[in-house]
């Protein structure tokens, strides 16, 4: 078989991404039809730039969701190495393709002879998982610490601002280099950071509900107990893996037993997630603190 031409590659990629195009078209037609009844979201469809941006974001969200958990779109297994496909140009026919296997490496092979197209799609799912939640967490951490720092001022403010500046002064790339290594994962530091950082949403929700229903103790107390119970369970199942919160070769700290554990997070993803939250929260902290001082 011959190599595909660029037109052929693009056409095949277009076909392969079919479900994404269908979903995008459905989403846009439905939203455009009912845009007057959709409030703020509908307003987005009045502006061309807004629609382009929304389309770009939703494209990657659909690619991530279909390619990741649903396992559609991908042409090959993203991790399996196929002999003879190392560093091949886009459109190279797969060597020794069997019946039922996709016959081409659409975007070529990487230096370990894996299919780049499938890896791209699987990578999109990792980003779709981490980016929005990490941003949300960074905001929650920044707001929970920035409001009291701006409101009370004094020593608390000095200390927190110093810590925030400390993290900001760190060259981001060096911090990532130091944190995201297998050796650091072994020591359990990401787990400790997760333990610390994931508490903040609990505190945040607690303060939010308490300040809203403070005057109605009859509503507040059961509500807080219920919400905190649920969130606490989520928190514990988030931080504990295989019945342990921190598991290093030398010692373990027991956590939630496996039968109560709702889900586990891959340690590789956890360390990236925690580092992103850690690096981004000081920026949010600074702006929230400034706003609180202004008000």
């Amino acid at each position: 078989m011959e190599d595909l031409s660029w037109g052929g590659i693009l056409a095949r990629m277009f076909i392969q991404l079919g479900p994404v195009w269908i979903s995008l078209i459905v989403l846009f037609t439905v939203s455009m039809t009912y845009k007057r009844r959709l409030g703020l979201y509908g307003k987005l469809f009045d502006s061309t730039i807004g629609m382009i941006g929304f389309g770009l974001v939703m494209f990657w969200v659909f690619v991530g969701v279909y390619g990741g958990p649903l396992d559609m779109l991908v042409t090959h297994d993203p991790l399996s190495q196929i002999s003879g496909m190392k560093n091949k140009v886009p459109g190279t026919p797969m060597r020794g393709a069997e019946e039922g296997e996709y016959a081409y490496f659409l975007l070529g092979g990487d230096n370990l002879a894996r299919d780049v197209f499938s890896r791209l799609i699987k990578g999109a799912w990792v980003v779709v998982q981490i980016a929005p939640v990490a941003t949300l967490f960074a905001f929650v951490v920044g707001i929970t610490l920035g409001l009291p720092a701006g409101y009370y001022g004094g020593r608390l403010d000095t200390l927190l601002s110093f810590l925030a500046n400390l993290i900001l002064a760190f060259p981001v790339i060096l911090l990532f280099y130091l944190l995201v290594t297998p050796e650091i994962v072994l020591t359990g530091i990401p787990n400790y950071m997760a333990l610390f950082l994931f508490v903040f949403p609990l505190i945040f929700v607690c303060i939010l509900l308490n300040s809203r229903y403070y005057t109605q103790p009859a509503v507040r107390t059961p509500l807080l107990i219920g919400v905190l119970g649920g969130l606490g369970w989520l928190y514990l199942s988030l931080v504990s893996t295989n019945g342990a919160v921190v598991a290093t070769p030398n010692y373990t700290i027991p956590g939630l037993p496996p039968f109560l554990d709702l889900f586990d997070i891959d340690p590789g993803i956890l360390v990236v997630f925690v580092s992103v939250v850690f690096v981004n929260s000081p920026t949010v902290f600074r702006s929230v603190r400034g706003l609180a001082m202004d008000i």
């Binding site: 400390l166 002064a169 060259p171 790339i173 060096l174 050796e183 650091i184 072994l186």
Partner: protein, 347 residues
Amino acid sequence: MGLFILRRLGVMLLTALCLTFVVFWLTNLYPNLEKLAKTQGNFRMSDEAVASYLGKNGYLQPLPVKFGQWIGVLPGWTVEDDGVVTGKCFAAGTPEEERPRFCGVLQGDWGFSTVFKDDVGSIVATRLGLTGKLMFFVMIVMVPMALIVGVLAGMREGSKLDRSLSTFSIASTATPEYVSGVIFIAVFASSAFGLKWFKGSATSAMESVTFENFTLPVITIALYGMGYIARMTRASMTEVMTAQYIRTARLKGVKFSDIVLKHALRNALIAPFTVIMLQFPWLLNGVVIVETLFNYKGFGWLLVQAASNNDIELLLAVSVVSVIVVLVTQLISDIGYVYLNPRIRIA
């Protein structure tokens, strides 16, 4: 003003101390030390061999003691092994009276790099010089280009010129260096498009800079940083152009070019100044990526080498330098802001 600078310098020192301690702690975790021992010795070392290597080289002391030795407030370690005395501050065969007790940053000794087998101080100095050269050219290209684009876009908000320049600057900031660098190499340096205008490697630029070998790395960093500064300049320019005194000048019949150059420009440049200064730390990130991509062995390349080999003393020196760069630029931007803005200067 003097007190302000003095206080800032104090905070700077404290920050640098805390940060180096964090780096020290992270690099001295046992798994990292094990990796260091195995890269120095061999990869099939037993656990006992690793422990004895680390013990002999003073890595197994308590963390605060090691940190104190690095700073130079505690005497360096000495180990006696089969009657041969070695230590942090001297090699094996040194006579007893010539052995210094302290050797740390305070004594001007930045330590010894385990990767390059050389003094950290001299390595960092040469690499920093090379990166300084790169940064100099980046600044020369980036700052004027960004200011021109920003001012042109901001002087008539909403015009066709504004739209196209804004799109250009958004696109250039939205493209990270590792994408634009690869595209530039593919287009201008490889045979893919037949345009072999520039070289894809900047290794030869370390000795002599030519147009051919230095254009691509400089453009890659400059384009990324440019968009952001141009956006800031445009924002402050549009704000100035709607001000009362500009309207008055127009009503008086002053020429448009005079309005822009004489009345608006100076006021519009206050905000971008801070932004340009605060861009330095970000450029440091770009430098790491671009230097690795173009194989230009400067400071960023050094950081990558130090971090991937867990070269503790080199990493500490690198982080001290980058922290100082960040904090000094913050200080300069604060002081410069005060001087540029008469409202703050007089108050």
